[in-house]
Symmetry: C2
Subunit: 250 residues, 2 copies
């Protein structure tokens, strides 16, 4: 077995027929959701579900998004982020995260170098992992392309959309601070984009998110901003995300 | 006949069964679109279609929006704006418009007082006219409530949503300069809102539009921003507008 093969660790079938398979890939845990109905679609487009880290904590929301995607004809998958869940923590990232929180709570501007120390190593490590996951997932019978990325960490999504040609469309959740270097990389992104912004996100910088939206190079890009805080994305945005991917991946 | 009664001036039935009736109301021209199928819905919700003025020039786009609305179960109507189309022009508004264009073309900031002179008298005159149109339209058999406003001039839509309790939801097209007084009034708006912004609108001020979105008092408000210039609103936004009104008016 090549180290990049999926090793299935669990399997369950939900009431709605969705087949959920846990896996590890080179030691990284992940989850794959597909239509369990026979015959499965010959080659379903795949949506990679981004998240802020910790699959166990994020599971209810990820599973909900995944089952919406499968109901619309997609396969969906996610992997754990570096430093989160059961993966080894990064002391440097923990320090930077604490400094960022301290600044936000004190109402002070977050220094660029703190954002860089928190986010850039994460992007550097996570993006090749998502690419390896893509290699393995696209080899699973019934999963084809094209591929969409959906969610956060937005810097991971931007880098992935900029460097990975198999990603044909992306929904980016503007819910975290973005290094200046990633804003520059955003100009290279060319695929259709839907950017979700929570207008009064308590742990995010609205102007930075708007600047990032402005910088994204795609000719077709849409921003959806809503009230409700970081976790308050309205349910109707889930439907908009599905329609966006139906438009661009099917 | 009371001066606020509709005087029908034309009637045509389109291929898709939509009944289009021209009318005048106290001398102001308008158009009403309803389902022509029998039996008509007992009491269709009504969408008021806002526009920048000149019904003849705007007709193709208004008719397209209206027929989408009727297909989704609504009645739709619009009236001419003061100073536009066949209505008497305002020399003062023409002067202010010329000053605004000169500033925009020179790349200079548009003085607040120019925006005030252009937009405030329009709002003052147009909003009572839309309210009178509402009185008359809601008396037409088959048209009930609730009522939505959809389009521009955004300052007219904001004032109408702030002062007219029959307006239960609004889609606001952020495509024109907004007087500071209207931004203050926006805080009184409480109905669900969808604000459409063309990110690179050549004749609009993006920051002013974002400030207005921020000021709007509604607890449920969504901003959709797209590329494509003032007239380049993507077709899928038309579907989003329809879904927004289905959510809030039916």
């Amino acid at each position: 077995m090549r180290p990049t093969d999926l090793l299935h660790t669990s399997e369950q079938r939900h009431d709605d027929g969705v087949l959920e398979r846990g896996f590890t890939l080179d030691g990284i845990p992940g989850i794959l959701w597909t239509s369990g109905s026979a015959p499965a679609p010959a080659s379903a487009p795949l949506i990679l579900l981004g998240h802020p880290g910790d699959l166990r904590r994020m599971y209810p929301r990820l599973a909900g998004r995944a089952r919406e995607a499968v109901a619309a004809g997609f396969a969906a998958a996610t992997i754990e982020l570096p430093g989160s869940g059961d993966r080894p923590r990064s002391a440097e990232a923990d320090r930077a995260r604490a400094e960022l929180r301290r600044a936000v709570e004190a109402g002070e501007p977050v220094p660029d170098e703190v954002v860089d120390r928190l986010v850039l190593p994460l992007v550097e490590q996570a993006v090749p992992e998502w690419q390896a996951a893509l290699d393995a997932l696209l080899a699973v019978p019934g999963i084809g392309g094209p591929v969409g990325f959906s969610g956060g960490v937005i810097s991971v999504g931007v880098r992935l959309a900029a460097v990975e040609p198999r990603v044909a469309a992306a929904v980016l959740f503007a819910g975290s601070y973005v290094p200046r270097a990633v804003v520059e990389e955003a100009r290279r992104v060319a695929v259709p984009l839907l950017v979700l912004l929570q207008w009064d996100d308590e742990g995010n910088d609205r102007q930075q998110a708007l600047d990032l939206f402005d910088a994204l190079g795609s000719k077709e890009k849409t921003l959806h901003a809503n009230l409700g805080g970081h976790t308050g994305v309205p349910a109707f945005e889930g439907e908009d995300v599905t329609r966006f991917f139906v438009r661009h991946l099917t």
